[in-house]
């Protein structure tokens, strides 16, 4: 039988080593018969003949090496351990060609094992997959590592996600619930999400706006184009920005928002979204507009004085500041019809045309809104023009795009005088705040118009009063003129009567018998009483007009008191009254209204004499009491009861009718005294008791000082130029002065007086004021202008019936040295002439008037302290 099996394989030791580098042969006695190159590399010392157990130990099966048993169990998976390195060998015992062989490979599971065994790739048989197995295990490890990495990443991401979600839940809750609208768009600005506030403000739901660009359906034309441009630029660059823009809600209502936009980027920087937060600032903006409108209206009204222009400007301010598209002002034309008085239009298509159309209209009573507001005097708010049945101007309004209106009546004193009509292109009524402001504006206008009206009425009244006042002033001037004239006319004849009576009483022209003397004295006293009445009446007129005032001049107190005493002593003598005059401050220089103080003393002394029975006593005592100058006028007369003393100084009051009948008088004397003393800063005291007499004390502040001795008399013939046109006065004065030894020349008018002064060189000039051709004042001025300084300085005494306030000042200003009121006492005249004719003393330092060395004008320049 032919053996058809394969030819027995003969394997050389080298081939065996190539195929199985990790092999060894085992003899029945347990010694190694051969060792493969791989094992030799591993164990380094194992050699043929060595005991197997020396280098290796069994792992599985765990029984000690027994060649016979191993031969019996050949082919079984066997693992042994190399003792030196501990490397496990995986293989099998196999009988090959009768020889028991072990073939296998190191059992390696990781890179460290590889390094430990000190083998390289070439130490393994090419077919041995051990290395690949290790590599696969390594790949397995890599995969596990990847899984761990992914797991770690997932855990981190999961935590981050959870945290982010929690944060987002909070943020989205905030975003959803906030009052501000929140919009999130993608990088192309298409909306991805909006919150509830957005829907509340705009009226659009999230579903309606997703995928749309906000600007396309929200943005309003009111927004400043520059702002829109800037906004787009920021968006293009992916930058954050904040702007204020006008939007429109779904219903078309405009509203203003403050828009804050933030770009949202990935960690790598890529722009993915924009987030916009929109704050509704409409109320704030409208409040600003309202405020500006109110301020603007206030400015207009404060600077305007014309009603029509004010209305037009107010409408313009409201229109501009509150962004009304059209503002109209309607006023009445005639009694019934309304016509356009002013208008203001926004620069929008159709608005100006609408105004022009309105200007052509005339609205009849009740026709359309303005006429209705005119009739009802009620504000009208029209949220939707198109739906209002009364609106007649619908086509014109529609063409201008106007949709709503507010109509304001403007009242003045209870009636409507104008109607302001405001149009908007937006539907709806203004909010309450704006309506309140409009009501305030209407009220401001009303107040303005009423003020204007009142001002016009006041102006008219003022004009009327001015006219009345002017007539009154003229009447006063006529009265003053009449008084001056009357005074002159009354005094001039009295001068003659008194002067001639005095001359005759003095028996200048020879003796008169007793009876004649008695009658002459009656004539003189009657004349003086008449003069006193005239003076009191004139003073009464002054008190009435409130014009009474004092004119101070410097002089000796002695002169004032002496004159007064002289005037009264005569009457007292006639009543056989004892008159006691004591001047304890002789030579005192005072600055007083000498005429008035003299008048006060005379009044008091006259009263003292009048209310003292014949044979009684009275007197004047002048003295210093501390810082006061006191004039006591006393009498031992009837006295005054205490209750009556309070009424003493009231004008027109006489203590009782009986007294008034018994004693002559106007009832003005004490009132005049009190006024004169008060004007001097003094007071009048009264001490009196019925039956015991009275003491009236004039008390003035003391500021006086003693004067030097009076000037000595001239002791020569005094040349007197008498300028006087009244022949009676000429006779009286000339005769008296000539009797006193004067040389008298008469000039019948001012012009002659000037000529005679220059030619004749008088020592003193007595100058009447009211004269024909040239009056005394002009003559005085011309004399003062004479080229000869000596003539120009001639002393001049004004002797005049001009006794009203200002007359004395008038004379002094013209250049006179002294002033005597007619009717003049000839004795006073003589003493004045004597004084002025005295040789002039050297001018006092500080004197400003070289020609006025004498008299009041000269004394005015003195600087010494004086009474007054």
């Amino acid at each position: 039988m032919v053996n058809s099996g394969p030819v027995p394989l003969a394997v050389s030791p080298g081939e065996l080593d190539t195929l199985f580098p990790f092999h060894f042969g085992l003899a029945p006695d347990g010694t190694l018969t051969r060792v493969g190159r791989g094992l030799l590399r591993m164990s380094e010392a194992a050699a043929t003949g060595d005991s197997l157990a020396r280098w290796f130990e069994p792992v599985r099966p765990a029984e000690p090496f027994d060649a016979a048993r191993l031969r019996a169990t050949a082919g079984r998976l066997t693992t042994i351990r190399e003792r030196r390195r501990g490397t496990i060998l995986r293989g099998q015992f196999q009988v090959l060609g009768g020889e028991l062989l072990f073939v296998g490979s190191p059992w390696l599971t990781n890179v460290d094992d590889l390094r430990n065994v000190g083998l390289t790739m070439s130490d393994f048989a090419v077919h041995d997959p051990t290395l690949d197995l290790v590599q696969l295990l390594q790949l397995q490890n890599l995969a596990v590592e990847d899984l761990h990495r992914m797991n770690d990443r997932l855990v981190v991401q999961s935590n981050q996600l959870a945290e982010k979600e929690a944060q987002e839940r909070k943020l989205s809750l905030v975003a959803a619930r906030t009052d501000n609208a929140v919009v999130i768009t993608d990088a192309d600005r298409k909306i991805e999400w909006v919150n509830e506030a957005f829907t509340r403000i705009t009226g659009y739901t999230l579903a309606e706006v997703v995928g749309r660009k906000p600007g396309a359906f929200l943005q309003g034309e009111e927004t400043d184009p520059a702002t829109v441009r800037r906004m787009h630029e920021h968006l293009e660059r992916g930058e954050s920005f904040r702007v204020e823009v006008a939007n429109h809600s779904r219903t078309g209502d405009p509203y203003w928002i403050e828009l804050e936009v933030q770009p949202i980027r990935e960690p790598g920087g890529r722009l993915t979204h924009f987030m916009a937060i929109e704050t509704d600032v409409t109320a704030r903006r409208r409040a600003g507009e309202n405020l500006r409108a109110q301020v603007g209206v206030a400015e207009v009204l404060s600077g305007q004085a014309e009603a029509g222009e004010a209305l037009a400007q107010v409408a313009a301010v409201i229109g501009r500041e509150m962004a009304w598209d059209v503002a109209l002002v309607w006023t009445a034309e005639g009694t019934e019809t309304l016509r356009l008085a002013a208008s203001r239009a926004e620069p929008r298509a159709g608005a100006a045309e609408f105004c022009r159309e309105m200007a052509e209209l005339r609205l009849a009573p009740g026709q359309d809104f303005p006429a209705r507001a005119w009739a009802d005097a009620q504000r009208l708010v029209v949220p939707e023009l198109g739906a209002h049945p009364e609106f007649r101007r619908r086509p014109a309004a529609a063409a201008a795009g106007l949709r709503s209106a507010v109509v304001l009546p403007v009242r003045e004193n209870g009636r409507v005088v104008a109607v302001i009509e405001l149009f908007s292109r937006w539907r709806g009524a203004p909010d309450e705040a704006r309506l309140d402001v409009l009501a305030t504006v209407a009220s401001q206008l009303q107040q303005f118009l009423e003020r204007l009206h009142a001002r016009a009425a006041l102006r008219q009244r003022t004009e009327e009063l001015t006219r009345v006042n002017s007539r009154l002033a003229e009447a006063m001037r006529l009265k003053d003129s009449f008084l001056a004239s009357m005074s002159h006319e009354l005094r001039t004849p009295l001068t003659g009567i008194l002067g001639l009576s005095e001359t005759l009483i003095d028996q200048v022209y020879g003796p008169v018998n007793e009876k004649q003397l008695k009658y002459l004295r009656i004539v003189e006293s009657s004349g003086r009483r008449l003069l006193a009445l005239i003076n009191d009446l004139l003073d009464l007129a002054k008190i009435d007009s409130g014009q009474d005032k004092i004119e101070k001049s410097e002089g000796r107190l002695d002169d004032i008191c002496d004159s007064a005493v002289r005037l009264v002593r005569f009457a007292a003598n006639q009543r056989r009254q004892e008159f006691d005059y004591r001047n304890e401050v002789p030579g005192l220089q005072v600055n007083l209204d000498r005429r008035r103080l003299g008048q006060a003393l005379v009044n008091l002394l006259n009263n003292a004499s009048k209310f003292t029975p014949e044979g009684g006593s009275l007197g004047l005592r002048v003295y210093r009491r501390d810082a006061e100058l006191v004039f006591d006028v006393w009498d031992r007369g009837i006295g005054i009861a205490a209750p009556d003393q309070a009424r003493l100084f009231q004008p027109f009051v006489q203590l009782d009718g009986r007294l008034a009948r018994q004693y002559e008088g106007t009832g003005l004397g004490l009132a005049l005294v009190k006024q004169i003393v008060t004007l001097h800063g003094g007071r009048v005291d009264v001490v009196s008791a019925p039956g015991e007499g009275s003491t009236f004390s004039i008390v003035l502040p003391w500021t006086g000082q003693d004067a030097g001795a009076p000037a000595a008399g001239p002791g020569r013939t005094i040349r007197v130029l008498l300028a006087e046109d009244n022949p009676t006065n000429v006779i009286a004065i000339r005769d008296y002065l000539e009797q006193k030894g004067c040389e008298v020349t008469v000039a019948e008018n001012g012009a002659v007086a000037v000529e005679r002064t220059a030619a004749w060189a008088p020592d003193v000039i007595l100058m009447d004021v009211q004269m024909p051709e040239m009056d005394g004042l002009e003559a005085t001025r011309r004399i003062r202008s004479l080229p000869d300084p000596a003539r120009a300085a001639t002393p001049i005494v004004a002797v005049t019936a001009l006794t009203l306030d200002g007359d004395r000042e008038l004379c002094l200003r013209a250049g006179v040295n002294d002033y005597l009121a007619k009717p003049v006492s000839l004795r006073t005249l003589w003493s004045t002439v004597q004084e002025l004719a005295a040789p002039p003393t050297p001018p006092t330092a500080g004197s400003f008037a070289p020609f006025a060395a004498h008299g009041p004008a000269a004394k005015l320049s003195r600087t010494a302290p004086v009474i007054g």
Partner: protein, 180 residues
């Protein structure tokens, strides 16, 4: 390429420049993968895009980046990923270079989806050899140069690499003269 390669690029960039630079490179490369799985295959294009973006971001020529990547691959990634074979590839530089062909034969077995390069050694002398590099992928010559330098560092051996022939000059493969 297998994810291990892209991950190696990621490790190299992150260790030298940080996470944010790596994210920017990924963004520029248009790569959205968060994690590269080592044993999963990815299109070669991803690796090329990453290298290109790294060049832009780091302002370095792609050649230098590939060279650096070659070194990094040997010294970091391959040691780990191909540890067993790297460990068994030889105990000296020439031994390892001589084993490179067998090394890649085994890699081809283990990564069936990978199209590995082919290496051959010729003109072995005491101090040099010629390494032949065959591949279908363009532009990786600097990577191989960096790889050889990395091996020199791994075996503490000073090495000189001269590119004697390359595909850019009309040859069908690159030939490096490696001397040590």
């Amino acid at each position: 390429m297998y994810g291990m390669v892209n991950r190696s690029v990621e490790d190299m960039v992150k260790s030298a420049h940080g996470e944010s630079v790596w994210l920017e490179i990924k963004r520029r490369a248009g790569v959205t993968e968060d994690i590269f799985i080592s044993n999963a295959g990815y299109p070669d294009e991803i690796t090329y895009r990453l290298v290109g973006a790294a060049s832009e971001v780091l302002q370095l020529p792609a050649d230098k980046i590939l060279h650096a990547f070659g070194e990094h691959w040997v010294l970091n990634t391959a040691r780990k990923g191909y540890g067993p074979m790297m460990a068994m590839g030889g105990s000296t530089l020439p031994q390892f270079l001589e084993n490179l062909p067998a090394f890649h034969d085994r890699v081809a077995l283990l990564y069936p989806k990978l199209v590995p390069p082919r290496f051959a050694v010729s003109d072995r002398t005491e101090r040099s050899l010629r390494l032949h590099y065959h591949t279908d992928r363009p532009g990786l010559t600097p990577f191989v140069e960096g790889l050889i330098h990395g091996l020199g560092k791994m075996f503490d051996t000073a090495v000189q690499v001269t590119l004697q022939e390359n595909r850019g000059t009309g040859h069908d493969h690159d030939v490096f003269l490696v001397a040590w």
